[in-house]
Amino acid sequence: MDLTLSPSEEEFRDEVRTWLEENHPGPEPEAGLDEVMSFRREWQRQLHDAGWAGISWPKEYGGRGSTMIEQAIFAGEATRQEAPPPANVLGLAMGGPVVIAHGSEEQKARYLEPILTGEEIWCQGFSEPESGSDLASLKTRAVKDGDEWVVTGQKVWTTFAQYAKWCMLVARTDPDAPKHQGLTYFLMDMEQEGVQTRPLVQITGEGEFNEVFFEEARVPDANVVGGVGNGWSVAITTLMNERAGLAFGAISQIQNSLGRLSKLARETPSNGSTAAEDPYFRQRIAQLHIEVETMRLNAYRGLTKTMQSGIPGPEGSLGKWQWADINQDLTELALEIEGAYSTLMRGSDHAVAGGAWQYSFLRSRANSIEGGTTDILKNIIAERVLGLPRLR
């Protein structure tokens, strides 16, 4: 058992730390999404030029070929320094790895480089209005027409669809096959007439997600990934990559939030002193700290296990569930500390901390839904970790 970094890992961390300190561009502009995206594109180009884009990707595909620990170190360090995310998060974390794992040589040659540079943004077309947790029931149809497929249907919760060149699209190609077998994974060009996107306004008031409508949109046969009818297993790889890739950045992010929460408590008057002196708030802040620490240690245990077995196990579901719970508790506690002033949003003179916690509170409501609902994660744990019988 050794919870410290090896000398070579320490060296890697120092390299990452120094490079980020010298290069990261500081906080994102407080402006519209368009400005934020161009800021992130610029940042991604910088990352790519220095060899930090796609650090988990094999070297032969333009990545850095880093170990899982190095990936964890990079994610942790970038978040700790509050470096902005790259523009093409979904392409880097999911699209690229899927093309590398399942794509043809032509596809690798065509798609990978622009993912790394951020030149082409990717989005994910999985969920549909009637297919959320039961993803395999999705109805978007793709019908063969010569050497093309014609796609009709609707996707939803599509992050950054308005900026995307490519959509990782799962559509039904065989309506007669059992639901998991009739699906195919396509790379759909978003820049065509048959594709319409409409921002979906979230409870935060922003439009990070979209609805995407396909009306006889075209996708060439050459853009099928992993073979016709194999869409489900290709999509599952994407989701596994999503979960494994996000864990360590997420932990550092919560540690940052916890630091801000402690600061808020120290600065907020309560009972003639500050919230940081109030025994009730002290207990709750400590409990959050304890839970973040158990999550961090669980993630290291999981990482050790994954490095031995080669594949992330279903235990990763525990981390995502816990992350959502903690993030929500944390923002709820922040509003509780703010008390009556927690009613004021960004833009109000008397809003505490510029209204940052109100936004975080609202945004974190999605944490237990996005990327696998907590309810479904509990099913996965019950069935695949504990071996309990399936309900269905």
Partner: protein, 374 residues
Amino acid sequence: MYFDLTDEQRAIKSTAHDFLASRFKSERVREIAASDDGFDESGWKEMAELGWAGLALPEEWGGQGLGIVELAVLFEEMGYVCAPSPLLSNTIAGLALTFAGSDAQKERWLQPLAAGELRGAPALVDAGAPAEPNKFTLAAESDGDVGVLNGEKTLVMDAASADFFLVATADGHRHIVEKGAEGVTVIPEESIDLTRRLSTVRLDGVRVAPENTLPGSTEDYWPVFQRACVAIAAESTGVAQRALDFSVEYAKDRQQFGRPIGAYQAVSHRCAQMLLETENSRSAVYGAAWAADAEPESLALAASTAKAYASDAGWRVPDAAIQTHGGIGFTWEHDLHFFLKRGRANAATFGDAKWHRERVAEAVLSGETAPAAA
């Protein structure tokens, strides 16, 4: 970075698991729980032969010289069978002698303790006073160079099987008091956990020769206390694991409305929650055990993190297990109540979750916590 047991640690775990499973079957635990003094002499002898009495005590004084990670591995397995054994109290007495005793005291008391020939038990909590860790009210009076103790220590573990007590006084010292010494009376209490008996030790003018007062003072006992917290948190993790295992097995087997109850999400999601709490508890315990062995400067925070978490999980998981079992879980006949009671007693021992959370709050809110390694 490698956060898992080594092959040697795994071997300790499986040896302990197999031995304890064969020695502490339900019938045997019940027999000991129903006995007058709750002490299992033959089990103790076998543990001593395995070297457990001195597992984490220095080799120099007859111990195995292993680390707190190994100790945590062992106590997790002890908790898994709810072993009725003075091993915890004896280990803590041994650690106190290690950290705060003189060489002469180590030779006289620690050596036989590590061999399992003499058993020691800490006598810390002053009757009627809040059981705040490392804070005592019993005055050490003196008669020339002889100490004189008058008072009552309570919540003393395993007094029936102990040969000597380490009695804490207000000045921060510990005194070796033999159970047979004049003026010592042991009064058994009715403990919630029948597999770990608690007693009151009355001290009426007990005379302590100067060579029986440990030279160490208050500060020397924090490292002992923190290691004790890791050990008892490990035990609670084992308790939680067992309660989870009982529940999963039952939920697969028990049929209602034509299906195994584990197919219903009201039940399966509760089991998932039990797993989450058990795994979190385990991670926190191993993180703290590792700190004790490799990074002592972070032990205080890590031990409080582990003890706070395991205090809650150690009884909440068995509590959820009782609900999962329905009526049968509420019967004396089912073993679950032993685990609930052990977990509940552990939660209140060596600082409860609230006390440890306050330690964590002190560290976090002062902004002293170092950022994580990665």
